[in-house]
């Protein structure tokens, strides 16, 4: 049973694409007929500064325009943020935390202030390098949040993303297959 309103918080660093990932999630969930919000919260405008982005997903029209303080899910795009940001702040114990890391979950847990919910790790760098040959964490992180939150089925997600990439990378077909491979690898690895 998926909740009526799902709230997601993304942590990344300026230039890494956490905002873009939040907007991509809004895009793909929109295609399932739901109401969506995807928005960034900016501090000082500079590369590398911690940035936060948010998603709300609902079956009803979304009117609230505040940041999200009690998310159901948190996605950490850059694990170096653990030392700067309390990523589990307000995070629901019924929800989950998704971290982009090559490290073992046990090592990650010491940064989580005793968070009692589910924790998932995904090595977006390895997946991205293997599928695209370059490090773009967006596609793996997007697939990870879709899988963990269950906002849509794997099949719907993949077919919507295929269409989206075909539109976005009309002139670069090689990138389409790489990104699709990154999505599929992530869907299989996250469990």
């Amino acid at each position: 049973m998926v909740k009526e309103l799902i709230q997601i918080r993304w942590h990344g660093r300026g230039g890494q694409g956490a905002k873009t990932a939040a907007l991509l999630l809004a895009d793909v969930v929109f295609s399932t007929g739901k109401y969506v919000q995807g928005f960034p919260e900016y501090g000082p405008e500079r590369m590398g500064a911690p940035i936060t982005a948010y998603n709300r997903i609902s079956d009803n029209k979304i009117r609230v325009h505040s940041n999200i303080y009690e998310p159901d899910y948190v996605v950490v795009v850059d694990e170096t943020l653990f030392e700067a940001v309390d990523v589990t702040k307000g995070l629901s114990n019924e929800g989950a935390l998704i971290v982009n890391t090559a490290r073992d979950i046990k090592e990650i847990k010491k940064y989580l202030n005793g968070y009692k919910g589910r924790v998932y790790t995904i090595d977006a760098r390895r997946i991205s390098m293997e599928s695209l040959g370059k490090y773009f964490p967006n596609s793996p992180m997007l697939a990870a949040i879709v899988k963990v939150s269950g906002v849509m089925s794997d099949e719907t997600f993949l077919s919507e993303m295929q269409q989206s990439f075909e539109h976005k990378f009309a002139n670069k077909p090689a990138v389409i297959e790489g990104n699709m491979k990154a999505l599929r690898m992530t869907l299989q690895e996250v469990s």
């Binding site: 907007l23 809004a26 895009d27 929109f30 109401y35 969506v36 919000q37 995807g38 928005f39 960034p40 919260e41 900016y42 405008e45 029209k61 979304i62 009117r63 609230v64 325009h65 505040s66 940041n67 303080y69």
Partner: protein, 393 residues
Amino acid sequence: MSIRDRLSGNEAVAIAMRQINPDVMSAFPITPSTEIPHMFSTFIANGQVETEFIPVESEHSAMSAAIGAQAAGARSLTATSSCGLALMWEVLYVAASNRLPIAMALVNRTLSGPININCDHSDSMGARDSGWIQIYAENNQEVYDNFVQAYRIAEHPRVRLPIMICQDGFITSAAVENIELLKDGEVRKFVGEYCPDSYLLNGKQPLAVGPYAVSAYCMEAKRAQLEALKNAQQVTLAVAKEFAVLSGREYGLFEEYRLADADYAMVIIGSAAGTAKDAIDKLRTEGKKVGLLKIRLFRPFPGEEIANALQKAKVIACMDRTESFNAQCGPLGAEVKSALFNARLMPVVINYVYGLGGRDVTVESITSVFEDLIEIDQTNDAGDKYRYLSLRE
């Protein structure tokens, strides 16, 4: 039939502009409105519109170029924010007093300092007495709909004044949300062709724009300008009525939300209104009689209608997203209290300053305002009538 889409507020405005296909856009980039000229110039480069784009070296020049183009007979527009609007200051008055129906997409951002890129209303509130029509939006849908209606109001023969279509910087301008778009042809037909009576490029009717007015005429010119601005109120309603037929979405001078029987009312502008609606629904389930009046048209200010809508409220919160530095009220507070006084209504009015420089507005912070109002009513003690919301101690 509308087109279901998901867009940021900036994208929505850029698309409205493309659908209108105006004649001239002059603009200088500034956060958070940069995306609008950025996207629109892409439409121009792709041949999707026939608009002439004038890249200028400052906002003063952007407005000056829009004035020149509009006076020449071209439907013109620009987009800006914050210090960009401040730099247009001098020429905003020139656009209004010369009765040039330019449209401006204003993405509200605070004025420096401290330097900050986020939302408050200090930019447009500072320009409230420049003679422009001002219309505000709660979300991407409203800013799109308002922009589609803008030229119909501004260019109306009884109005002929420039119009500012405002939205909250980042909060709606950068947030992607669901939206219902009209078809290109529907918008183009609704807005129609721009056919000014008199314009500089009409060789058959020589014309002076912006000449000196001696003291014997200057005051009459201002009075005539006021009449045009007052007319904008009825025209705004008439255009909204036509727009509702086209879109199914209804607009007025302001929106009332659960206000009819409310003892405790909030008057607010912009994106925080949506957050307030969620707070109101929760408080209503607890039996609290709370309601909202959301300003749409701020210039001209529909004072009589607003006083009428608030006549049953016992305690009112006026929410100002700017500091007026007069030590007693903000611009919205001043307008609402003046309207109530003229209607001989004397409710307790508490003026809150909130959301400066992007300070977040939450369901909880809005709820605390209503709790204040209820307490004031129960204790019969208004306390400080000029307060700051969510201020860190």
